[in-house]
């Protein structure tokens, strides 16, 4: 049969389509063409579901290293690293008390690169906790929580809680002695409201502590139920929650007008040479406004020209990728130097002494040693509530975006750091040397100890000092600076004492070498 002319044309078209398919595939994916000009780069960012969390243009102030120290991106990067390595570990990990420990041993010894991946996962998790805390401190000290960013500050607090939850739930999974007893301690902290209900004699009617513990463990003991709960929380619920919250967090940065910067940032930048920026205006803009202009509120360019903004692509992305790779570098380097711990197989009949919670909870455990309720519930809730209230109590506007900005400034922070470090050291030294109420008056009602103990006294001292700072500087921001700094100081001191100076039965020792042998 002979092909008709129409058939030949169809074949030719088919050949042409086939030839053009790769180009068309590329064009359908990257509609704006190669991102070679300012405009195509902007379109590229705007048209990409992942990249459009960023504004298409970034203020030069935001790209200065001193503005953020890269801590937010570092937190997100650490999360990304734990996510990837965590998924890899899931291929081999078996969430059952009989198999979990063996599977970790297998990951350690025979899974190709398993040991490295697990080490990276563990270090990235720790880096994430540290980075998140430092990121919060950065946001606080540059007053980044102020209007219109109050909401994002609250999201950030939630992210902090979820981060700690992720790290804590991961702690149990190896099912070794370290994990088992750390989780036992953690579960007892969750049960700490019982101290209050016991003291009030209402535990039989109302037992939120027992309920919390049951909710956490799914059983009276740390066993299969607890393991599967922690596993599910660790690999699904909390990561999803964190990803969702993080998306809101990032989106909000854009919606709130980019990163906080001083009111006179443009003027200050104008004094600096801009030689390190690319010659990016390779093509005249098609339109005279730019995309950020559609954003409501105090956007970076509503009243100003775009002189001090740069296209996010590539400038912001270099910075972000740079921090990502730096974080990865830190994690890989640590992973090569130091193995993630794996102690003996969990053994409920051989308690670890001392049994210690993960390091970021050792401050709490230190307080729990004095009063379970205050250390485990009361003070953490007060701290979280205080942190949440900061943006609503500090409505000042001066020195936003400045490090240590606000009345008092850096000298106040320094003084507060001194108070924040010295007060817990003094109170702990007293309590360690002379004991506390229970040692002096064995029959004293527990409620008194719950109300009056080193942890509550410390909190009260911090609060009193902050109020004094508010009066002295006539500024709520000064009080916030004082309180937040004190809180960080207390966290550091209590965590250090819990980590390094507490031995069997939570007795104080200068060094583990002094621990009694058994």
């Amino acid at each position: 049969m002979r092909a008709s002319p129409g058939g030949r044309a169809a074949l030719a078209e088919f050949r042409a389509n086939l030839k053009a398919a790769p180009r068309r595939l590329y064009e359908s994916a990257f509609r704006s063409g190669a991102p070679t000009t300012d405009r195509s780069r902007s379109t590229f960012v705007f048209g990409n579901v992942f990249l459009h969390l960023h504004a298409v243009r970034t203020h030069r102030w935001s790209l200065r290293w001193t503005t953020t120290l890269g801590l937010g991106v570092m937190s997100a990067s650490a999360f990304l690293i734990t996510l990837v390595t965590g998924v890899m570990l899931m291929f081999y990990y078996k969430p059952s008390p009989d198999l979990a420990y063996q599977s970790i041993k297998d990951i350690h010894f025979v899974v190709p690169t398993g040991r490295l991946i697990r080490n990276i996962h563990r270090w990235a998790a720790n880096v994430m906790v540290v980075a998140v805390i430092l990121h919060m401190a950065r946001a606080f000290y540059t007053s980044a929580y102020r209007s219109p960013r109050e909401y994002n500050w609250l999201i950030g607090l939630l992210l902090l809680v979820v981060t700690l939850g992720l790290s804590f739930t991961g702690y149990l999974l190896p099912w070794d002695q370290l994990a088992y007893w750390a989780i036992t301690i953690g579960a007892n902290i969750a049960q700490s409201p019982r101290e209050l209900t016991d003291a009030l004699g209402v535990t039989g009617l109302f037992d939120p502590g027992g309920f919390q513990r049951l909710l956490l463990l799914g059983s009276d003991v740390v066993g299969q139920e607890a393991l599967i709960r922690f596993y599910l929380l660790h690999v699904m619920i909390l990561p999803l929650a964190l990803a969702a919250l993080a998306a809101v967090h990032f989106w909000r940065i854009r919606k709130d007008g980019g990163l906080t910067r001083p009111a006179d940032a443009d003027a200050r930048l104008a004094r600096e040479p801009a030689a390190d920026t690319y010659p990016v205006f390779t093509e005249a803009p098609l339109r005279t406004y730019h995309l950020a202009a559609v954003v409501r509120g105090r956007t970076p360019a509503v009243n100003d020209g775009p002189e001090h903004t740069l296209p996010s692509m590539p400038h912001l992305f270099y910075a972000e990728l740079g921090v990502l790779m730096l974080t990865l570098l830190v994690c890989v380097a640590l992973a090569l130097v130091s193995d993630a711990p794996l102690k003996e197989l969990a053994n409920p009949s051989v308690p670890e002494n001392p049994a210690k919670a993960p390091w970021y909870f050792l401050g709490l455990q230190e307080m729990v040693a004095f009063s379970a309720f205050m250390g485990g519930m009361g003070i953490p809730l007060i701290v979280l509530l205080g942190l949440a209230l900061i943006p609503f109590l500090d409505r000042e506007t001066s020195a936003t975006g400045e490090w240590w900005g606000g009345p008092g400034g850096w000298p106040l922070v320094k003084r507060s750091a001194l108070v924040g470090l010295a007060a817990p050291v003094a109170i702990e030294a007293f309590a360690i040397r002379f004991g506390w109420l229970r040692e002096w008056f064995p029959a004293i009602p527990q409620l008194v100890v719950t109300a009056v103990n080193p942890a509550t006294l410390l909190t009260a001292a911090y609060a009193a000092y902050s109020v004094w700072c508010i009066r002295r500087h006539q500024s709520a921001r000064a009080g916030a600076l004082a309180l937040f700094t004190c809180f960080l100081g207390g966290f550091v001191v209590l965590t250090a004492i819990g980590t390094y100076f507490r031995g069997p039965n939570w007795v104080f020792y200068w060094s583990p070498a002094d621990w009694p042998t058994h």
Binding site: F109, V110, L321, L326, L329, L336, K343, E344, V350
Partner: protein
């Protein structure tokens, strides 16, 4: 903002370098890879890969064979460095059982120190090579192991009767004689487990008598009953673990069971040793332990000076030679357990656990060695230990001459309530036949039959009040006020009331016990004046009051 670009470049390059380094380390530098690369078979090099022995029911995944390649299944032909060598022939094929079930260690690990368990947080380090037989104890419970002297006598009998000329035992013997008169008999290394023809003696004799020529001719001659008893004892302990049997025999001579329990049998004063070999070096204090911090060294130091290793320990130092201490350490290391699937529980363990068969031999010497000698001494002449009341000399001829069998048996069965001597007739203690065997052995130790005693058990009718004065002045110093016991034995014991005759008490006071601080009161001593027979009877009358009268 070029510095961000450089940040990205430098960090990425550094990450890449680290990952390349890690890849090289993992792919090329592992110890087992280097070892396997140097291994050869007749066909040439072997494939370099991770090797393991897997036994699901024993929960073993032992990667030991990644280095010890020739110990793996089907790899016997591998040659090279010593570490690659094949396992010596053993009953349990490593290819089936894996390595850690016997040797302990961390089978999943793939580096030397971690696999051998010489690392923190691994509770089961490898059993040191010189104590390897201790690994048998994880599953096996060798039954009927006698005390040392008998085991030695049994081994000596086996040698003396020249059984080794035909039979191979524990790697010795069974070769043809140089004169061509010998032959290959069955290997007897495991007859203790496998059993043997009880009529072997007659069969052997028959064959030796009827054989007109060849190796059988004149090979076996008549032997005494005692020799055959020793041979039977020797054969019953041949379980392919000669060193562990020897170690257990030392344990059964050192009196440890008097205070310690093993598998539910023994005294209650000391720690239960049933799992002592499972002791976790991570949980032990090595303060005062010389040498490497291993459990074996801990045990050795502990035997030599218990109180300096375990604060407050009342255990006396173990009086034994270095070799015996080594064997004891090995036995303690063998006291380990693991839950086994039923098919892997060996018959000897079943017979011990389910049928109540004893791990020690049932003769008096072994029972005395295992249960009594710790306190009363190997020779039964008592022991004085620092910080502890002295233990009576029960093999003293002075005692045995006047003590009836009934008194000895009931003392063992009922003990001395309130004193260190426990009542041994109880679950976890001795059985009636065993008590009688101990009493019989004791009698043989003294070599003295009990004197005839025509008198009734109670014949003393004297003045207890006068006896009391004498007792308070003369006896109470050692025997305690009201006879409650002190340095000397308690005399108000209900067991003495029930089992000691008046004759026994009168003669004991009159003659004393040579070799102890108890003098004979019929004649004067530097410390005490002599007592008249009537005075002694007064004292006995008072003792009966102290014991609560009756009977």
């Amino acid at each position: 903002m070029n510095k961000n670009k450089y940040l990205l470049l430098v960090s990425s390059a550094a990450v890449l370098l680290l990952l390349i380094g890690a890849a090289v380390q993992e792919t090329f530098l592992q110890e087992w890879r280097r070892l396997q690369a140097r291994a050869r078979t007749d066909e040439g090099p072997i494939p370099i890969q991770l090797r393991q022995v897997v036994n699901d029911s024993l929960r073993a995944a032992d990667r030991c064979v990644s280095c010890h390649v020739a110990m793996g299944p089907g790899e016997q032909g591998v040659r090279g460095e010593p570490v690659l060598a094949a396992h010596k022939p053993v009953v349990h094929d490593p290819a089936e059982f894996g390595c850690t079930i016997c040797h302990a260690g961390q089978g999943q690990a793939t580096t030397r120190s971690e696999a051998h368990g010489d690392v923190r947080f691994w509770p089961e380090p490898m059993i040191p090579a010189r104590f390897s037989y201790a690994g048998c104890g994880r599953c096996h419970a060798t039954l009927g192991v006698p005390e040392q002297r008998q085991l030695q006598a049994a081994a000596a009998a086996f040698e003396r009767l020249d059984c080794l000329s035909c039979h191979r035992v524990d790697g010795r013997g069974g070769t043809l004689r140089p004169d061509g008169g010998g032959m290959e008999g069955p290997d007897l290394s495991r007859v203790g487990l496998a059993g043997y023809d009880p009529g072997w003696y007659e069969t052997h004799l028959d064959k030796a008598r009827t054989a007109s020529a060849g190796p059988w001719r004149g090979a076996v001659g008549p032997s005494s009953d005692e020799d055959r008893r020793l041979l039977a004892l020797f054969l019953s302990t041949r379980v392919a673990s000669p060193m562990l049997v020897e170690a257990k025999s030392v344990f059964h001579s050192a009196g440890c069971l008097g205070c310690h329990k093993v598998s539910g049998v023994g005294g209650d004063d000391g720690m239960d040793l049933s799992r002592a070999g499972d002791k976790d070096p991570g949980q032990a204090s090595f303060h005062g332990v010389p040498g490497q911090p291993t459990i074996a060294n801990w045990q050795l130091a502990h035997f030599r000076s218990p109180a300096s290793i375990v604060a407050g320990s009342l255990m006396p130092p173990v009086a034994a030679s270095d070799r015996e201490l080594d064997l004891l350490a090995m036995y303690v290391l063998s006291l380990r357990r693991r839950d086994l699937p039923e098919v892997y529980v060996p018959p000897d363990r079943v017979r011990s656990v389910k049928l109540g068969e004893r791990e020690f031999a049932g003769d008096g010497a072994t029972l005395f060695g295992a249960f009594c000698s710790g306190c009363h001494g190997q020779d039964g002449l008592g022991r004085r230990l620092p910080g502890v009341l002295s233990f009576p000399s029960i093999a003293s001829p002075d005692f045995l001459a006047i003590a009836s069998d009934g008194l000895i048996v009931s003392t063992i069965e009922r003990g001395r309530p309130g004193r260190r001597m426990a009542a041994w007739l109880k679950p976890g203690g001795l059985r009636p036949a065993e008590v009688r065997a101990v009493a019989g052995y004791l009698r043989s130790l003294g070599g003295v039959p009990p004197e005839e005693d025509p008198r009734p058990a109670r014949w003393v009718t004297a003045d207890a009040a006068a006896g009391r004065k004498l007792f308070d002045g003369v006896c109470a110093g050692c025997h305690g006020p009201a006879g409650g016991g002190g340095e000397g034995p308690a005399l108000n014991s209900i067991v003495l009331r029930d089992s000691a005759t008046d004759t026994f008490l009168v003669k004991t006071i009159g003659r004393g016990r040579r070799g102890t601080v108890m003098p004979g009161f019929l004649s004067a001593t530097p410390a005490y004046p002599a007592l008249a027979s009537a005075d002694i009877e007064d004292v006995v009358a008072y003792l009966r009051v102290l014991q609560g009268g009756g009977s």
